[in-house]
Amino acid sequence: MQTMSDDTALPLARFTILEVNDTNVPLCLRLATSLATKIAADLGADVLKIEPPGGDPVRRAPPFLPQGESALFQFLNTSKRSLVLDLASDVGRIALKGLLDKAGAVLFEEPAASAPLLRASRATPIEIAAFPVEMDAAGQPVSEFAILAMGGLLHMVGEPERKPLRLGGHQASYAAGLTAFTGLAAALAARAAGQTAPDVRVSLAEVMQWVNWKAASGADASGISPGREGKNSEFQIVPCRDGHVAVVYTATQWPATRALIGDPRLGDPRFSTRAGRRQNIAELYEIIAPWFADKTRAEIQTTAQAKGVPLGPIFSPAELLETEQYVARGFLAEMAHPKLGKLRLPQLPVQWNGRSFAPKPAPELAA
């Protein structure tokens, strides 16, 4: 496993990018901004994070490391530099203008007081918002959870008769952050090619709908929206000896799945089509579930993969640290932090000619 070291030019090393953290911005927008610039910074861009006096509030957001520092901040701000500027003051705004003249792109959030200044700058503006332009709702209260509801993703998870459920993690903010990174890359590519770069506007609500496109597609095709199916779904979570496994297979993998479980009752014609299995789902799982009960997740995965069946053993974040595949690929890398010691965190999920991108510790707040 190689890591891109300092003597190898990193792909974005030619670019300077500003991340402006103005005050009074909803945290869920900031997480998207910071994820986009973190990716650029790990790829070698010189990312300067402009923080207000007192720092980006994400520095004080959970989850926390045992030392009390924010793990969220440490993850989202690797490989960046930080500068404190009071953008409410003339001195702060003048300093910012000077920096903008030298930057290729600037990332910020729509409700920021400095947004008009940033939109008009020579750096290409990449703006993170909660809602589409068409809603004209810049000041509306927002949370990631509300965005999941608006975008229809909340409707998709849980039991039909019980409350809908959010997905774990900061999925609304991070999907928007990945989108903003791609928009940033497109803007930099245009600038590098001598074109006028398009400005980019990413709203969390649009990204969630785009991610959840099968809801719109399904409703458009049949008039009936897909929704959470819970225990009526063909894919169920079943307990096994040391945890849980998600039963997942495509229509063409059903014969292999049947062979894996090896119970002759699965040959019943009622189970031979997807529609039939769904109509008889409780009976189907009465037959399937016992096969899992006395086996470990590792045994189940090995046996199923040998037959080409994509069952999914469920791992917690702590267990991921030990998984063979991640260890072999060095995905969860060690990073030496000057104050916090050795930390382990995911690297960018790409290997470029076999090399990965080692993150550098997030910046301290200047005194």
Partner: protein, 375 residues
Amino acid sequence: MSARPLDSIRVLDFGLLTAGANTSAMLADLGADVIKIESGAYLDPFRVVGKPDNDDGWWNRSPQFRFTNRNKRGLALNLKDPEGQRVIRELAGHCDVVVENFRRGVLDRAGLGYNDLSAINPRLVFAAISSQGDTGPERMNVSFGSTLDATSGIASLTGYEGEEPRISGMDVNYPDQIVSLFATGIVITAVMEARHTGKGAFLDFSQREVASFTLGEEILVAAADPARPNGRRGNREEGVAQQDAYRCKDGRWIALTLDKPDAGLEALCASHDSAAAVSALLARGIAAAICNDGNDLLRNTALQGVTLVRDERGGLVKGLPYRLGGKGISIERPGPDLGQHTSEVLRELLGYDDAQLKKLAEAGVTSTTPAVGEV
């Protein structure tokens, strides 16, 4: 049309379903000329899983295929036939990017892997998107959408309080959706590098890693503090005073996030219709939203922003996840019929004549109908 960031970039697209095909679609959105390669013997599975009927031409009618493959040209070339392989190697000389999400080894066995194609075209950016990545003991493992909710860690943090884990399910397949948002940006970065240095790159994406990457802070904490309690917390979130979905008088659910706990909210929701409750709560500065379904999304054009658009046949297709230069996209061509542009592209890029095209068709190397009914 004004210049776009990927004008002059051509993509050889082997992408299937969402992870691969959608990455190429996002490159097309930015101006790339995307030529999608299928074969009569192996269709993009979206042509099959989304088919509305079994009548003749069913393979050209899947809404899921149309949603994902708009603004591409479509070729059908048999990858298992040496002649088909030869034509693709010729095409690779005229392309800048390859996108593929086959199981590891499939393209290598056809003589169409990165080593083969980069020998022909060293500037090629080759995006290999796979379940587990191109290396490691699990590189040959297969997955389907929600397999990766499970193995990435997301499912372990999703579920009702204290109950079993949950996956996003087959109507979402969440991990497939986010990989293209990331992979597209990395491909653009590598294209920039190739323009700058003349050298291409092999980009190895693990979809499982992309999904785990979204839990970065959870992994950081788990490594530093193995004793930290983990698991399902319903809709609650660390650091948030109160957050949950509540059922309103009209039976609809609304999502609420509060900075300060308010025990009276459940009663407020139960006694108001959802729209009235959301308005009242927003006016109090509380983040609130109705839990929309697909039909709500179709009706609410302001909320849609640029995410949905209609093609020239009036069909609804995927728009953009972002607004570029203040705009969305227009659909210049609907998702291609199987093999619709084979002749056009082989004439244009490789200078093939009628006799050569006829010979390929007669040998079954090119086709416009499937050789199989199921995939």
